[in-house]
């Protein structure tokens, strides 16, 4: 029986390249946020590409390739030294008693004013807990669905919702405290 032509296969390197090429800037950007270091981020994306190419057979056609490759990126990050340190974060949704009650005294108008200041948003995003920032970036920057984010983070969809909610509340509180300091 003749061997199949790899280039004709839907799982060939060529089809991987077609799918992955447009995602390189997004992968690098997200890797920079995860590693907080350009050089490490580039290494991380290289390793992600290498692993994804090897595991491309496990990708189910018809599902979201972006979510799949972001999952590989995250898992690769978690096995790195920086990732291992970052994964020690305790997620508060696992400890409901530690969750703060909503004591948001700002008005929606306050948020609208502060969002005009890009530097303030950058600074607040930097200060956000990495796990919360990650979920927010996947949702707002990468425009992934909750279901896809849940698959990337390997958590239930309810956890994604609660993290997004906490992330936005924390971001608003950071912006509010910056605003108070600037007065």
């Amino acid at each position: 029986m003749p061997s199949p032509d790899p280039s004709a296969s839907p799982r060939s390197g060529a089809s991987f390249e077609l799918l992955a090429l447009p995602l390189l800037p997004a992968l690098l950007s997200h890797a920079c946020w995860l590693c907080q270091n350009h050089s490490e981020a580039e290494d991380l994306v290289q390793e992600t590409i290498s692993k994804s190419l090897r595991a491309f057979d496990s990708f189910e056609p018809g599902t979201n390739f972006k979510a799949w490759v972001f999952r590989v990126l995250r898992n690769t990050f978690l096995t790195s030294r920086t990732g291992i340190a970052a994964s020690r974060t305790v997620f508060l949704e696992d400890h409901p008693d530690l969750l703060e009650t909503t004591s948001d005294s700002t008005t929606p108008e306050d948020h609208l004013i502060r969002l005009d200041n890009q530097a303030a948003v950058h600074s607040a995003l930097d200060q956000l807990q990495p796990a919360l920032r990650e979920v927010l970036l996947l949702c707002d920057v990468e425009e992934l669905r909750y279901k896809e984010i849940a698959a990337i983070l390997d958590v239930p969809i309810g956890t994604v919702m609660s993290r997004i909610s906490r992330a936005r509340r924390a971001l608003q509180q950071l912006l509010q405290s910056q605003f108070r300091e600037s007065l």
Binding site: E17, L24, L112, L125, V141, M161
Partner: protein
């Protein structure tokens, strides 16, 4: 709407998030929309949440990669995946002895013409190959010099700044697909010091850049795998800089500097000895 919303009369944070993220079902989104038409406070919260989402989307794109980085990664994508064993190309055929043909006079003229054509094609192929080798070596020499000048400019601080070989070598673990040895400080030529190291790419392949000083001259030593495509003359010069290249234990060591070439040879030899 949720039970708690019905109790408080306002949208819950999860509902607002799901609404701005487009995660609600069509009937769910319609219900929220209806509530927003009547509730100014919730409308403002939704507006604030939408603007926060937009601000995060904008702020989240602040890491922009250089075209060089993207080109390197794109090149990595184009590398063929390892072929399954069954798909390996067949080995080149061994030369086979054919039956001797005694040409007739008419046929011999045709053979002479064919022979001339083959010789011409061979000549062109050899010329192209030689030109390609020369061009490749020239391009590589330029790339090496560029990397060395970039290091000299001081704009790029090496990732590892250390004179200790036990600090420099382990830093490359997991960053390079190969390993190499560094000599003790005592085993280096006189007045030669290791200053640090960096990870660079040469011809799209990862390389260790070792930075030394000899007297007061900076030296870049590039350690790469001795792949067939990495071609550079053992001794070369470009724009007043000497380039020395040697192989050792499947590694290629290439040094670039404006130091006395004899000192550069001594450094390369000391590195070759410990591989």
């Amino acid at each position: 709407m949720t039970e708690s919303t019905q109790t408080t009369g306002h949208l819950q944070p999860d509902e607002i998030n799901a609404f701005v993220d487009g995660e609600l079902s069509v009937p769910g989104a319609e219900t929220v929309q209806q509530h927003l038409n009547d509730c100014h406070a919730c409308a403002l919260r939704v507006l604030a949440a939408s603007q926060l989402k937009t601000a995060v989307a904008r702020a989240g794109q602040r890491f922009v990669s250089s075209p060089e980085t993207l080109a390197l990664l794109a090149a990595q994508l184009r590398q063929p995946a390892p072929a399954p064993s069954g798909l390996n190309p067949p080995p080149p055929l061994a030369p086979q002895h054919s039956a001797r043909i005694v040409p007739t006079r008419r046929a011999s003229a045709a053979f002479i013409a064919a022979g001339a054509a083959i010789a011409a094609a061979l000549l062109i192929a050899v010329s192209l190959f030689t030109w390609s080798q020369f061009h490749q070596a020239n391009t590589l020499a330029a790339e090496l010099l560029d990397q060395h000048l970039a290091m000299l400019s001081g704009g790029a601080v090496p990732q590892v700044v250390s004179t200790d070989r036990h600090t420099v070598k382990p830093w490359f673990q997991g960053r390079l697909p190969f390993s190499f040895n560094l000599p003790d400080a005592d085993a280096l030529p006189p007045d030669t010091t290791l200053r640090g190291a960096d990870l660079v790419f040469l011809e799209r392949q990862p390389a260790a850049l070792l930075i030394f000083t000899i007297h007061k001259h900076e030296v870049s030593v590039f350690v790469t795998q001795n792949a067939g495509e990495f071609r550079i003359a053992p001794r070369a010069a470009r724009s007043g800089f000497a380039i020395r290249s040697a192989t050792a234990a499947e590694l290629r060591l290439t040094a670039v500097s404006d130091v006395n070439p004899a000192d550069l040879d001594a450094l390369v030899n000391s590195l070759v000895r410990v591989q």
